[in-house]
């Protein structure tokens, strides 16, 4: 399900983020949701960055979203697109847009979650224009 991208650096993991990367390997992108204050956050943390409660659950995103902002880096090796994608859950994710012609992108464009394997084979969440 995940294509390999040898130019993608492998994510560094900690004991705190290990479940996030295990979910990525299952094809799920997790975000944090706090039952103490009701706020959602990304990247997910053990404690809520709004209220510091530990009543945080990491939920799987639907994978549907829109481009909040993007920037094509034409001289990257290879070229790539940096972006914030706004998930339909209302959480913005720092990511890349893949499988696209940057000239066809725009803020508000519908995108969908896919995974690309980094150098060490760890799947990493990225987005492509929705089919």
């Amino acid at each position: 399900m995940s294509s390999q991208n040898p130019s993608r650096p492998s994510p560094m993991q900690t004991v705190e983020t290990k479940p996030f990367w295990e979910a990525s390997a299952r094809g799920e992108l997790l975000y944090g949701s706090c039952s103490a204050c009701g706020e959602k956050h990304y990247y997910p943390r053990a404690r809520c960055p709004y209220c510091l409660s530990d009543q945080v659950t990491w939920l799987a995103a639907s994978g549907r979203g829109t481009i909040y902002s993007y920037s094509a880096v034409p001289r990257g090796n290879p070229p790539y697109v940096s972006a914030y994608v706004m998930l339909e859950e209302g959480v913005a994710v720092f990511t890349n847009i893949v499988e696209c012609d940057p000239g066809d992108l725009s803020i508000g464009l519908a995108v969908e979650l896919v995974f690309e394997k980094s150098r060490d084979g760890q799947p990493v969440a990225v987005f492509r224009p929705a089919s």
């Binding site: 560094m12 706020e39 909040y68 094509a72 990493v124």
Partner: protein, 386 residues
């Protein structure tokens, strides 16, 4: 106890832009000596030292030893390139609290000689954000481009308007013999330069330079005894902004809060500011600061900067009359130091005659360091000539 007041008594900007034959510590020592000479003080007058992450060693420890300082107060707060502006405020606070009388602040580095790209992220898994950013190859310029793109989307800002910020910098830099780029550029030149991170072109980005600078901040009675023009620290503020995923906002900066605190402490308004030094890592950094500091309304930055409105002598608000980081100097990838230095020159009447602001009695130096899109720190000081 009445506040003794704090004054910028010494400034020095290293003339080099390429320090192939000097060490980082050596550059810190050279700028320290330069600022002391400017103030008319000696090394042993220094009893406070401030530095940020560009200083080699553990916090201030190595540099205090290397310089042979005898300090009773030291601080190495690092909020990115705006740190030296915060240090001016912290020095004033330390002086008011009786912790020191003469504070030295240094910035120096040699990224150009060492070929170190800006914004290179430390590959340490304990940085909590690293796992979620490094896999996406976050180029520093692309983060600023995300903010520029969003500003264009929300407010109709154009690449031509951003280019005017670079054009104004080049009109100032042509008069600065030490500036790295002294050639006049046009809006067309900016738009024709290679795209680094769409919509930011090569000429929307600051230069990379070696060297640095230093500032001496003194207690009131020390400053008044030196016979130099008196530049008083009137107000200051610092703030840190970040994204948490929800409630994302890429078009306002921490400058809203740092600026507001500085205005309130100084008891002045944007209309009172005669000259502004503001951080110009990228053209968009300037535009957002102008809005957030209240020089124009949010969304009006594009119209505020176009047609040379930032050029000294002809524009509505002279900005970065040394040529800024876009053309003059951005030593150690950190532009805060030179912002305070040029503001002080303006208040002393020591700027280049071609860019000197008439009757410049109140100036602001403002910094925006870090990664504009993800996490950044702003620091603002308002300085007054007495």
């Amino acid at each position: 106890m009445a506040n003794p007041g704090a004054y910028i008594a010494g400034i020095f900007e290293h003339p080099t832009r390429l320090a192939t034959d000097k060490s980082v510590a050596q550059l810190h020592a050279e700028v320290a000596a330069g600022a002391l000479a400017d103030a008319g003080l000696g090394k042993n007058d220094i009893d406070g030292y401030f530095c940020a992450g560009d200083a080699p060693g553990i916090g201030p420890l190595s540099m205090v030893e290397y310089l042979g300082l005898r300090v009773r107060h030291a601080d190495s707060t690092d909020i990115g390139g705006s740190s030296p502006i915060a240090h001016v405020a912290y020095a004033a606070q330390a002086i008011a609290a009786g912790k020191c009388n003469v504070a030295l602040i240094t910035t120096a580095g040699r990224p150009r000689a060492a070929a170190e790209a800006p914004g290179t992220l430390t590959e340490n898994p304990d940085y909590p954000e690293n796992g979620f950013e490094l896999p996406y190859r976050p180029l520093l310029a692309a983060g600023y481009a995300l903010c520029a793109r969003r500003h264009m989307h929300e407010f109709g800002t154009t690449s031509e308007q951003l280019a005017w910020i670079k054009v104004a910098a080049s009109r100032h830099a042509q008069h600065n013999p030490n500036a790295m780029l002294r050639k006049l550029v046009t809006v067309e030149d900016v738009l024709a330069s290679p795209m680094v991170a769409d919509p930011l072109h090569r000429l929307d980005c600051c230069i990379m330079s070696d060297g640095g600078g230093a500032i001496i901040v003194t207690r009131g009675e020390v400053g008044k005894s030196l016979g130099r023009p008196l530049v008083r620290v009137r107000g200051s503020g610092e703030s840190i902004k970040y994204q948490l995923g929800s409630h994302i906002d890429l078009t306002t900066t921490a400058g809203v809060k740092s600026g507001q605190m500085a205005y309130e402490e100084a008891g002045v308004t944007p209309a009172d500011i005669k000259y502004l030094s503001t951080y110009d890592s990228f053209t968009i950094t300037v535009l957002l600061a102008l809005e957030d500091l209240g020089f124009c309304a949010k969304g009006e930055g594009g119209r505020f900067v176009e047609d040379g409105k930032l050029v000294s002598g002809v524009g509505r608000l002279p900005v970065n009359t040394d040529g800024g980081g876009l053309c003059n100097n951005h030593p150690a990838h950190r532009g805060g130091m030179t912002k305070v230095i040029e503001a002080t020159r303006q208040l002393r009447g020591e700027a280049h005659p071609a860019v000197q602001v008439k009757n410049c009695d109140l100036a602001m130096a403002h910094g925006t360091g870090g990664m504009l899109d993800r996490r950044h720190g702003c620091a603002t000081v308002i300085l007054e000539r007495e």
